[in-house]
Every structure is written in C-alpha cells, then in structure tokens.
C-alpha cells in the first residue's frame, strides 16, 4: 500500500511534475493501474475495431475490391477508383447538390436559432419562457423517419395543407416529391427540427451578458435598439463567429439520413449528395472501391476544412474545437 501511495501523484501540481519527468518505471505504473486498464478494455476494443478498423478499411479505395477475396486478396489498383470517381458526372452532381443544400442551410437555417433565442431571451415571464423552451427542444429528439412522416401528413398530397386548400376550392400544391421544391424542403425540415435545440448555446451566451452594461447604457439614454446593437451583439459575436466557422468546416456534412429517406421520391439528379452516392454505389450496387473512394475523398476534404476552420477561429481569437 505504501508503494501504491508513493507511486500515484496527488493533485494537479503533482500531475504536472510527473508529466515533465516520469520517474516511475513503466512496469510499476502498469501494475498500479491494472484495474483502470481493465476498465478501459471494452471501450478500447470498440475504438480499435469499429473506429480504427474502419479507418484502415478505407484503404479499399485503392483496391479492386472483390468481397469474396477480402481485403488482402483483392488486387491493388492505386488511384484507379479515384480516376473513375472524378470522371463520373454523377459524383460531381452529388458534390454540387451537397454544397447547394449546405449553403441554403447556412443562409436560412443558421440565423433561425439566433432569432428564436433573442425572442426567448426577451420574455420576462420565466414560466412562459421555460414552457416555450421545452416545446421547441422536443423536435430535436424525434427521429428523421418520424419528422418526415409528420411533414407528409402536413404537406403531402393527402396532407393537411392540401386538404385545406381543396376545401376552400384552391389549387393543391405539389411539395413533397417535387424535385424543384426538394432543397428548400430539406432546409425547412432542418429548421423545424433543430432551431429550438440550436437556441441553447445562444441563450447561454445571452445569459452571460453583464446586466450592468444594459443598465449603464440605458442610463446614458440608449434605446432598446441601440442597447441591442452596442451591448448584446458584441457580447454574443464570439459565439456566432465560432458556430459559423464550425459550420463552414462541416460544409460537406449535411443530414444523410434525412436525405436518404426522401431521395427516391425526387430522384438522384436533385437529391443525390455525396453520402447517398456512397450508399447507392457501395451498399446497393456493390461497387465498394468507387464508393470507398468517394467516402475517403469527402473525409479528407472534411479534415482539411475543419483544420482550416480551426485555424481561422484561432486567428479571430477564439478557442476553436481543439487547441
């Protein structure tokens, strides 16, 4: 027991000194930590197989993969899959669709939580505010399958909107399943599902604004609008900037499940995104090499974008996702 006590550093300062010069030999550290190591085993097996195993499995983008032969038996073809990928007009269409939907979301979805947060923050009745918050957070926890079922029941051909339109003798509208309406519809669904949830971070930022600044500004004669412009906005600007940069870093990641569920209704020309391209070419058609190449391409671009976004947020003086 005495050896045990001596071996484990105590408190934060001790941790720092030990990090600087690890005097305790490895073997006794292993012995000391054997229970903790046992604790790690299930989680580490998961990470080794399903995260890192899959990461190295991405290597099949460089193979002429034949499921029967397996990874080791398949022929190495170098960049052939990538050449096929970049020569495929469908892939570029999918990339373009991905970007288009992403930009639409940036313009129309991104400001929505901020607007709702400002509205909620301005409510003086705490109980009402709590109630509205609990209602608007709920859709975040509903699965995409259900969300789309709800949208069908509201806007579909036999849904409430068209039912009411025809009751009043008006023309019915073809929204779901209409390729022209597909992209705005995707954005509308995201707004419905996640605007409420998105307010959390803005509400936290708004709650942190120093109340005395408002008071001082008001005493100096600043109107509500000026107080918003000169106090509220500068206080939450870092959060807005950080979220914007993070969003830009994930510009290729848009709701895969959401779009896969609705792709067949409107066809691939408007609804194919990179992720669904991967799914249809790989899982459905069995062209694993091509699909893996598309997935790897997206992954690498994603890493580069996140890295760049992080750099930008550091430059702006924010902390970013990682240091």
């Amino acid at each position: 027991m005495a050896e045990y006590d001596a071996a484990r550093p105590t408190g934060a300062s001790a941790t720092a000194t030990e990090r600087a010069k690890p005097r305790v030999p490895w073997r006794s550290r292993w012995r000391r930590d054997r229970i903790l190591i046992a604790f790690m085993v299930p989680g580490l097996i998961y990470y080794a197989i399903f995260q890192y195993g899959a990461l190295f499995g991405s290597g099949l983008a460089f193979l002429d993969y034949v499921p029967f032969l397996g990874l080791s038996g398949s022929r190495w073809t170098g960049l052939e899959n990538f050449q096929r990928l970049f020569g495929d007009a469908d892939f570029w269409q999918a990339a373009l669709n991905t970007l288009e939907i992403s930009v639409l979301q940036l313009v129309f979805f991104f400001p929505a939580p901020l607007a709702l947060a400002l509205l909620l923050h301005s409510l003086v009745y705490t109980k009402l505010k709590r109630f509205v918050q609990s209602v608007v957070y709920l859709p975040h926890f509903i699965s995409w399958v259900i969300v789309i079922a709800l949208f069908q029941q509201m806007l579909g051909s036999t849904g409430m909107l068209n039912g009411m339109l025809s009751d009043y003798g008006l023309h019915t509208v073809h929204i779901l399943g209409n390729p022209d309406a597909f992209k705005p519809m995707i954005v509308a669904q995201v707004i419905w599902k996640d605007t409420g949830w998105g307010t959390i971070i803005f509400l936290a930022a708004l709650a942190n604004v120093d109340e005395q600044m408002y008071e001082a500004a008001a005493l100096d004669g600043a109107s509500a609008l000026r107080r918003f412009w000169h106090v509220t906005l500068p206080a939450i600007r870092p959060v807005i900037a950080l979220l914007l940069v993070l969003r830009l870093g994930e510009i290729l990641s848009i709701g895969f499940e959401q779009i896969l569920l609705q792709r067949d209704a409107v066809g691939g020309a408007t609804a194919e995104i990179i992720d669904t391209y991967v799914y249809y070419h790989g899982i459905r058609s069995g062209d694993f090499g091509l699909a893996a190449a598309a997935g790897l391409f997206k992954g690498v671009i994603g890493v580069i974008l996140i890295y760049a976004a992080n750099k930008v947020s550091h430059r702006m003086g924010e902390s970013g996702v990682y240091r």
Binding site: I35, G43, L44, V124, M160, G177
Partner: protein, 307 residues
Amino acid sequence: MKLRRDSRMAPRRNALRPAWQEPPHPLTSTGKAVAIVVVLALVAVPFLVVVSTSLASPADVLANGGWVIWPEHPSLDAYRQILAGGVVSRATLVSVGVTVVGTTLSLGATVLLAFALSRPSVVGGRPIMLLVLFTFLFPPGIIPAYLVVKQTGLLDSYAALIAPVLVNTFNLVVMRGFFQSLPEELFEAARIDGASEWMMLRRITIPLSKAVLAVVGLFYAVSYWNAWFNALVYLDTPSKWPLQLVVRTYVLAGGSITDQSASEALLSAPQTVQMAVVVLATIPIVLVYPFLQRFFVKGVLSGAIKS
C-alpha cells in the same frame, strides 16, 4: 396610503423587468405574442394532427382526405390492430430490446473508459485520449464500417445494431470532463482508507455523477430508439427490423415516397393505422423527454455543449 401602495408596486415591477428598462411598446408585445404562438403552433400542430388521425375512425379520415385535426368519433382500433401481433408488434419488441440492452452496454463501456481516462496520470491516458478525439475529426465512412461489420460476422444479428455505435465520443468526452471536475481530495481520502479504483468508481464517482449519467444514458437511449440506417444496411431479415425502419418502409412508402421493398399488405393500411405506428414510434421519446428536460435546467447540457 399612497406610500404603501408604491412600496407594494415597486418590487412587483422589479420582479418582471429591471427598473432601467422602459415598458415595452404595445406593438412589440403583440408582435412577440404572435411570434410565440406561431412557433408553438408550428411544433405542436403536426403532432396534434398525427395523434388525432390515429384516433379517428377510418371513415372520417377518408372523408376528410387523409387527415383530421380532431377525432370526431375517437377509437383505439388502430392501436389494437397494430399491437395484436404481426409486423409492428414484433418491431416494437425489437426496438425496446435493442434500446435497453444497447443503452446498458453503451453506458457501461462509456463510464468505465471515461473514469479510467479521468484519473490523473493513468498509463497511456494522453495518447489514448488523442486517439479517441481523432475519431471526431475522421469518422469512419459508410463502406469501411459495413465491411468491418461483415468481417466480424455481425451481419444480420442484433449485435450489429449495438457494437458499431457502442461508445459515442461526444458522450465520452462530456462524461470524462464531468468526472475530472470532481474534487480530487475525495479520491485521496478514499485511497488512504485503502479503497480500490473499483470502490472509488462505485462509491464516489457514480453517486456524485447522477445528472451526467442520466443525460448520457438518455442520449444513448434516444439514439438507439431512433436508429434505422444501421438496421437497413446490416439486417437482411425484415422480421428483425426495429420500429423506425418499419415506419420508414411502410408509412413513408405509403405516402409520396415509393420504395420497391414495401409490403403490399401494409401499403393499403388505412391512414389511421399508419399514424398509430408513427405515434407508437414517438411515444417513448415524449415520455422520457420531461426527465431530459430537468437536466437542461441544471445546465449540464449547455456546459457540455460549450466545452
């Protein structure tokens, strides 16, 4: 008399609005009230329509063109029909089973790993944490993930719905951060008393972390309940499908979205039955939601999101 009234008024006014704030313009107040009502209606009306349609009689729904906002002749026939055995009943059992088993295993693996990684200077702590965080940056693609499941022989088994999503890195990071915030003195005192790491986890960490355990557990439960894509890709046998995938195939396919694999038998099912399935797939979320809600208020989540 006048003075007494003033002193009674002042604190009431302060309770709602700070003294420096001017009373709102009636137009602003009206605008805000309208906005709140619209927002609430946008969220609530779809749920209302779906629940009402599921409770209405098929004749009323048909007469109204596929939907009702309020059931005139409410009946539970649709629910009796889907719960009487058959596709939906079996899928519900599958979903419940996967959610219960999956949440237990995920929470267990996450707590153990987070606890080990939260202890100061544990062997390999830093490199392991970096490897874990790297998966945030480069999540495995659909195809490699599928091949791993295939190689491990999990295809067409329920384990394929749990093992590939056992630990969520975000949940792990949140939990580790919370464990690290517990005062180290507690662990030192326990060590002096001769407690093992296992005792520390059971007697100190877990009792002090109920809020974060509840939130992470509910997050896992919600994601297991809502999942359908892994089942679509990994399960070949439709009788093993969870409820969400059944909704996807039969309800979404019954509308404007077509799918070749949709079964003819349920495609022709009346709207009331389809909406009853949708309600059934939503109810557990709505039931656990108030519990989740309690923890938003405590700020666990906003703290977690900020970090």
